[in-house]
């Protein structure tokens, strides 16, 4: 069998900061899986609500102010992350480092505010199904915000050390995509937990 030179890969790029990278697809896979988990939690919430006599059991919907502020902060942090990504796309390492750090600080602030909010809940997860699902969804999202803060801190450290370049930035791409997912995942939860009872209150 004769073996012929077909394609020459010598000059092909070895660094891919975009969809060509397998890792980009890997994080998309993770986001897809987690989105399905978010959906399953939402379905569980709706199922429990549909079978309840009164939802929430106390009769009053939870307060709207701080969750809305947190939503705003998370969306703002998406914008700073986006700016960071644009920065490194143009080779601007400083803009990347500042953008990521700002996002980390904003999300850390969200964690503090959420902690205070959770501690102010007047029901426990042990009280009833409503308490259980609200605490679980809150905890699920809280853990994800924590993970994105931790991960992005690592990215920020590397960014300040000048590791990322226009070509070598798949880590940034992966981190920003995960960041967008965690922030946007808050939207359906926010709507279900805080607006749902107001719009369809029993």
């Amino acid at each position: 069998m004769r073996v012929i030179n077909g394609i020459d890969a010598t000059n092909m790029s070895r660094l891919h900061p975009d969809q060509r990278a397998p890792l980009w697809w890997g994080i998309l896979g993770l986001i897809t899986i987690e989105s399905a988990v978010v959906l399953a939690f939402c379905v569980s919430y709706l199922y429990l609500a549909a079978h309840a006599e009164v939802w929430p059991p106390s009769g009053t919907a939870p307060p709207l102010l701080w969750p809305s502020i947190n939503l705003g902060l998370l969306l703002l942090s998406c914008m700073t992350m986006y700016s960071a990504g644009q920065g490194i796309n143009h080779g601007n390492k400083r803009r990347l480092a500042i953008g990521v750090t700002t996002s980390v600080l904003l999300a850390s602030l969200v964690l503090v505010l959420r902690t205070k909010e959770l501690m102010a809940y007047d029901f426990s997860w042990q009280d009833h199904a409503y308490g259980s699902i609200v605490w679980t969804i809150s905890g699920f999202h809280y853990v994800h915000v924590t993970s994105m803060v931790l991960g992005s801190t690592a990215i920020a450290i590397l960014a300040w050390r000048g590791y990322f370049t226009r070509e070598r930035q798949i880590g940034v791409v992966v981190d920003t995509n995960y960041w967008y997912f965690v922030c946007i995942a808050w939207v359906p939860f926010y709507l279900l937990l805080y607006w749902g009872p107001r719009l369809y209150g029993n």
């Binding site: 890969a9 010598t10 092909m12 060509r20 890997g26 896979g29 569980s44 309840a52 009833h128 199904a129």
Partner: protein
């Protein structure tokens, strides 16, 4: 398909190049080195071997169950042990054998079949295996200390809640599920990315072998089905660990929520097990008829539509729970429609076999056995899609017969065929044909003797999950017959085990392509070298090896480095080369991360603080895993 060199240039390899390539792709030998392996063939082999070990263990549990049921009112196993055994039999078969072994075949074969050197995320691959292994050890350990789960493999609440199952048994179940979720999802994402981005140049989607399509569909199904069971098992863990009220009716909890979430996963799960087997059947038929399969497009579309439709059937597991009739009727209609893609595949295969010069080697026998058994199982499946009929046979031995017909006939028989088929590629040796035939006939006959009478038993009123039955029921004779058959079936599988071990020492050496198959994995040595292919092949037809035999020549990709692990990235639809990916070398971090995650999962059985501990341990393990080492990667 354009060649980048304008002049056709023959390729000759120097021994130094080959030696360098071997060193770059080498996996360390010896004990600590074993924990650093990342090559897909190593990991795939581990999944397959571990999966078959669990198959044997769960099979022994099955024999013990059958022994207890052989006659009425026997005292071989009391209810406590029996209930653990049937729960473990189902749990281990479904979660620790069926999915991992199918994944294992996919992990081993798919990268070879698509013409690449490793999977997209070699370290994640290893991580997924260690998670599976540790989970399996925990589960089997629980059986040895008498703490195994005993609420059935689908673990309904409220029985599985803290009040009615105190003790650690059900906690072991919920932990085990967590391990398997993570392991299956990592393998699924890997397979999807490998199949979509790492195919050999020229292997457009419509040139992919049917087994690769099946692996792709299976992986997408895992991605969309597993989250439902992740959520349901999380809710149960929380109920048991910190007293949430998800499934306790007094506080607004809903036991049916468990069933909806579990079966939304559970129904696609059985098709996740079936779909790769369907790919194996196509593969074997193609090779042993020596011609392209009829209806490639129809087969691919059927497998894809099975993947989609299977998500719309789950309520047929809940027909007796008191849900509204009208809603449930939709699921009857959906459940029968799955007969159509199944039927299309069966008849494409029959059309392919018709008039072909079939070689009746052992793999082909297992495929023929599949037809006989799976068709019966599929037909009883259509029957139980009827709500009225299901109300009589649900939770009886009729159902036990049905699902063993579709699972053993539909998945295990093709799997055995695939084992015999790819064994020469895995090991370089052929298994004995005589042994293969003995194994097949014992298994086929034993299987039917074991499970056919169960249809009758179910119709005569024998419920499932019973550790005994009274003498006046008259079920003793058929049960004895069934038990007898189970030992014949077991003997059939034992013959394959002996055959496999024997062949490692005395089997006829297989060359590169002992079956004259057309797919890429047969274009390299048996077993393949660490780098799979000396050169990444370029593909110009659906049946590359037959194509090359006709033309007498083939093209390859050149220019990949021998100093680091490099593979080609290609586009999704047409597999045009777009770049080169550098893959990681052996490393201990996947193992460390797996131990970190496992400690969290296991700790959750005891106290919520372990969640926090596990979270941070995994974070640090991931930092170790991903932190860039100097020298930082530059452009090639």
């Amino acid at each position: 398909m354009t060649h980048q060199s304008s002049r056709v240039q023959e390729r000759h390899d120097s021994p130094q190049e080959i030696e360098q390539l071997t060193r770059t792709w080498h996996s360390p030998r010896g004990f600590p080195g074993w924990f650093t392996h990342v090559n897909q063939r190593m990991i795939g082999r581990r999944f397959i071997i571990t999966g078959f070990i669990f198959f044997l263990l769960a099979g022994v549990l099955g024999l013990l169950i059958r022994t207890q049921l052989a006659g009425p009112e026997q005292h071989f196993l009391g209810p406590e042990l029996y209930n653990q055994f049937f729960t473990m039999h189902g749990t281990v078969m479904m979660f620790f054998f069926a999915i991992p072994v199918m994944e294992g075949f996919a992990i081993y074969v798919v990268p070879l079949m698509v013409g690449t050197r490793d999977m997209a995320f070699p370290r994640l691959n290893a991580f997924g295996y260690y998670i599976y292994l540790i989970g399996g050890i925990v589960l089997f350990g629980s059986l040895l200390v008498g703490m195994a789960p005993d609420a059935g493999w689908f673990n309904y609440v409220p029985l599985a809640g803290k009040e009615y199952s105190p003790g650690y048994g059900v906690d072991i179940w919920t932990t085990m599920i967590t391990f398997i979720e993570v392991s299956a999802l990592t393998a699924a994402v890997e397979l999807i990315v490998t199949i979509l981005r790492l195919r050999a140049p020229g292997m457009s989607l419509n040139r992919m072998p049917p087994f690769v399509w099946a692996a792709l569909v299976m992986s997408f199904m895992i991605v969309f089905a597993m989250p439902a069971v992740i959520v349901s098992s999380t809710l149960l863990i929380l109920d048991r660990l910190v007293d949430t009220q998800f499934f306790l009716v007094e506080s607004g909890g809903q036991p049916l929520l468990w069933q909806h979430l579990f079966w939304f996963f559970g129904h696609p799960e059985v098709y996740i097990i079936l779909v790769p087997a369907l790919g194996m059947i196509s593969t074997i038929i193609i090779t042993f008829t020596g011609r392209p399969i009829f209806g490639y497009t129809a087969l691919v579309l059927s497998v894809v539509s099975i993947g989609f439709v299977s998500f719309g059937l789950w309520v047929h597991h809940m027909f007796t729970t008191g849900l509204p009739q009208l809603g449930m009727s939709f699921f009857t209609a959906a459940s029968v429609t799955i007969a159509i893609p199944s039927g299309v595949q069966i008849f494409c295969w029959i059309a392919s076999l018709w008039g072909a010069k079939i070689r009746f080697a052992t793999p082909m026998l297992w495929v023929l056995g599949f037809f006989a058994i799976f068709v019966i199982g599929g037909l009883t499946g259509v029957m139980i899609a009827s709500i009225p009929f299901d109300t009589q046979v649900h939770d009886t031995f009729f159902l036990v017969a049905h699902f063993h017909y579709v699972l053993i006939g539909g998945a295990v028989f093709p799997l055995m065929g695939a084992l015999y088929y790819w064994w020469p590629k895995f090991t370089g040796r052929l298994m004995s044909e005589a042994g293969g035939k003995w194994s097949f006939w014992l298994a086929f006959i034993g299987f039917n003797i074991t499970f056919f009478p169960m249809h009758q038993l179910g119709l005569e009123g024998m419920p499932r999950r019973v550790y005994t039955y009274t003498a006046e029921m008259g079920w003793g004779d058929l049960n004895s017959l069934s038990t007898l058959g189970s030992f014949v079936l077991a003997a059939g599988f034992m013959v394959t085990l002996i055959n496999a071990v024997w062949s490692l020492y005395r089997g006829q050496p297989a060359g590169e392509n002992p079956w004259n198959a057309p797919t890429l994995e047969w274009a390299t040595a048996s077993p393949p070298p660490a780098y799979n292919y000396r050169h990444i092949p370029i593909v110009e037809s659906r049946w590359p090896l037959w194509d090359w035999q006709c033309r007498g020549e083939r093209s390859v990709v050149t220019g990949l480095s021998h100093q680091q692990r490099e593979i080609v990235i290609t586009s999704v639809l047409d597999a045009d080369p777009v770049g080169v990916q550098i893959l990681p070398s052996p490393t201990i971090w996947p193992f460390i991360a797996a131990v970190a995650a496992s400690s969290g999962f296991i700790g959750l059985i005891f106290h919520p603080v372990f969640f926090v501990m596990g979270f941070f341990l995994v974070f640090f393990a991931l930092v170790g895993w991903f932190w860039p080492r100097r020298p930082w990667k530059e452009e090639a």
